[in-house]
């Protein structure tokens, strides 16, 4: 039903589209399109009115007579409306877009949806090198870059084939093939510094990102106030109590990642296993106290 109502104005707006083109756009088969259209064509609406005048010619092209029914788009549902406004606003934050067209488009869409012009907003971080990385991907060039590894807390120099930059959780991340490590990595774009562009690279096909396999499994007892950990990181709930406290298993990306998490959680988080993680936390706390003249 929804598809039929969406398809008719689309076909009317594009006189002469082929059945195959329509099927591709609507993610269905040519057979289903034929059926939907014949349905629309045979919707007789009484003697006084024209019915939807549409026909398919011998080449499989679909034509519509002027004044056909449903020749204008239907109103969007709230879910569609907010998705469209969010997408357009997100694209306005991305370098390389046609900003004046996007901004007038956003205004027209909001008005047509009956929403205020700033009803939906998307804030993305703005790494200084985003534009450089984007350009390198478009030209298929390799990057030589300095990168701060948060999981190991060290600056490294790497040659990478940049594949794409994806903003996950409003934060830009570079997906790249790393020549030093010989595998695919996801790097926070804000942590990149100094990116001279070097020679051409063959980026190869895009595959789904997979997390590191060597991650350490850590079991913690968290209080209700520390539930943010479970919202932020992939985890497994091992037990939960009615007061909101819970026991979770997490996969640590590296020692520095784990230090950072444990120092933020503070003394109330109980480390269940492995035992040496308690030593890691203690040593990290002592190391930081050194900055304050309190180290051992």
């Amino acid at each position: 039903m929804r598809r039929v109502l969406a398809m008719i104005p689309w076909v009317v707006a594009r006189d002469g589209a082929t059945v195959d083109e329509i099927a591709a756009q609507f993610g269905t088969t040519a057979q289903t399109v034929q059926r939907d259209l014949s349905l629309a064509m045979c919707c007789e609406v009484g003697a006084n009115l024209d019915h939807v005048a549409m026909w398919v010619d011998d080449d499989g092209r679909v034509y519509a007579a002027p004044g056909a029914y449903f020749d204008r788009p239907r109103r969007l549902t709230p879910a569609q409306g907010v998705a469209v406004l969010a997408a357009v606003d997100a694209l306005r934050q991305v370098p390389g877009g046609d900003s004046s067209a996007l901004s007038s488009l956003a205004g027209k869409l909001a008005a047509a949806l009956g929403a205020a012009s700033n009803a939906v907003a998307v804030v993305l971080d703005e790494p200084p090198l985003l534009e450089v990385v984007r350009a390198a991907i478009e030209r298929g060039e390799q990057l030589h870059l300095d990168y701060y590894s948060a999981s190991r807390d060290e600056l490294t120099e790497r040659d990478v084939d940049p594949l794409r930059v994806v903003a996950f959780g409003n934060t830009w991340q570079l997906e790249a093939w790393c020549h030093l490590m010989g595998d695919r990595h996801r790097i926070r774009a804000a942590r990149l510094t100094g990116v001279p562009i070097e020679h051409h690279a063959d980026a190869g096909p895009l595959e789904a990102f997979e997390p590191a396999e060597h991650a350490l499994r850590v079991v913690l007892d968290l209080t209700a106030d520390q539930r943010w950990v479970a919202e932020r990181h992939p985890h497994e709930v091992l037990a939960s109590r009615s007061d909101g406290a819970m026991r979770v298993a997490l996969w640590a990306a590296g020692p520095a990642w784990l230090e950072r998490l444990l120092l933020r959680l503070g003394p109330d988080a109980v480390i269940v296993e492995p035992e040496n993680v308690a030593v890691l936390r203690r040593d990290a706390a002592r190391r930081l106290l050194g900055l304050y003249g309190r180290g051992d």
Partner: protein, 306 residues
């Protein structure tokens, strides 16, 4: 949905859009597929009306002085107002559909409904937005200019929706919480249970409200008294830290590449989480109370064995 049912519903929609108002007898005459028995026809029409409502098509009904009912669909409600997009705007809309994934498949549907063409080309920069959850109900409330009612952290809330904001990996509702009498923001994914919409037309977004800056940095949430934190960050993390607190916070850049930052803190736990996230690349220089808090926090862990 069975083919004959789709056909009947499509025809019904066309009829109710095309004539002013139709009685049940007139509908039965024009739309094939209804039972001949008037009572069964009435029951079927009611079911169809419900199905259409689920699809977002409102069929209006009104009783006449003679006891009959008339039915109609308001074209103003049914059709999207004329968008009148320029060629550049159509290109921009198509680009948005390829470059942004709003957390489900609705964007593609919406673009097709707007008459656009979806191409699945690779794009160098792609944005994946957080899961939408109950965002649709919140947006519906915005459009209707009505308050949204929901349960949050175990409390019932009535909030005048001013903006929906995607930031730091989450969707937020920003608005005026009637019970608190103040502007508040709520994580949409933490809303508990269903969302209902109050009296339409009762919400006015204040002039000059700026959605993009409505949610402060976590350490600047209005929780406690304001202190001016002074933090030194070493060269390895200086650029990252400045990116997070803003260029305005830089008071000094040292020769070795490290920086001194000064900025307001009103939520100390969030400040502590931020500064500890920089590990030994950052030191809280002042004020003494803030520095002492960090030391105390670390000392509680420096002696602990687990």
């Amino acid at each position: 949905m069975a083919t004959d049912r789709v056909e009947r519903l499509c025809t019904l929609v066309m009829c109710l859009l095309g004539w002013d108002r139709l009685t049940r007898a007139q509908i039965a005459e024009r739309v094939p597929g209804y039972p001949t028995n008037p009572e069964s026809m009435r029951a079927q029409l009611i079911r169809d009306k419900e199905t259409l409502a689920e699809e977002g098509v409102d069929v209006h009904a009104e009783s006449q002085p003679d006891g009959t009912w008339v039915y109609w669909i308001d074209p103003e409600e049914f059709y999207l107002p004329e968008l009148d997009l320029t060629a550049q705007e159509e290109v921009a809309l198509a680009a948005a559909a390829v470059a942004v994934e709003p957390g489900n498949g609705t964007l593609r549907d919406a673009l097709l409904q707007l008459g656009g063409v979806v191409t699945d080309g690779a794009v160098p920069l792609r944005t994946v937005l957080p899961e939408m959850g109950v965002l649709d109900a919140m947006f519906d409330a915005q459009v209707r200019r009505g308050p949204v009612m929901f349960s949050y952290k175990g409390k019932e809330r009535a909030v005048e929706p001013w903006a929906l904001l995607s930031q730091r990996g989450w969707w937020y509702l920003v608005g005026f919480e009637r019970g608190a009498g103040a502007q508040r923001s709520f994580r949409v994914d933490r809303v508990e249970g269903p969302v209902t919409i109050g009296t339409p037309g009762s919400v006015v977004v204040p002039a000059g409200f700026e959605a993009r800056t409505a949610i402060p940095a976590p350490w600047q949430l209005p929780v406690g008294e304001s202190v001016e934190a002074v933090v030194d960050v070493d060269p390895a993390m200086a650029a990252v830290a400045v990116g997070e607190v803003g260029e305005d916070a830089v008071v000094e850049r040292f020769g070795n590449g490290s920086v001194r930052l000064r900025f307001a803190v009103t939520h100390r736990p969030a400040f502590r989480a931020w500064v500890l996230g920089l590990l030994d690349h950052a030191e809280v220089v002042g004020p003494p109370s803030l520095r002492a808090e960090i030391v105390e926090w670390l000392e509680a862990m420096a002696g602990a064995e687990r």
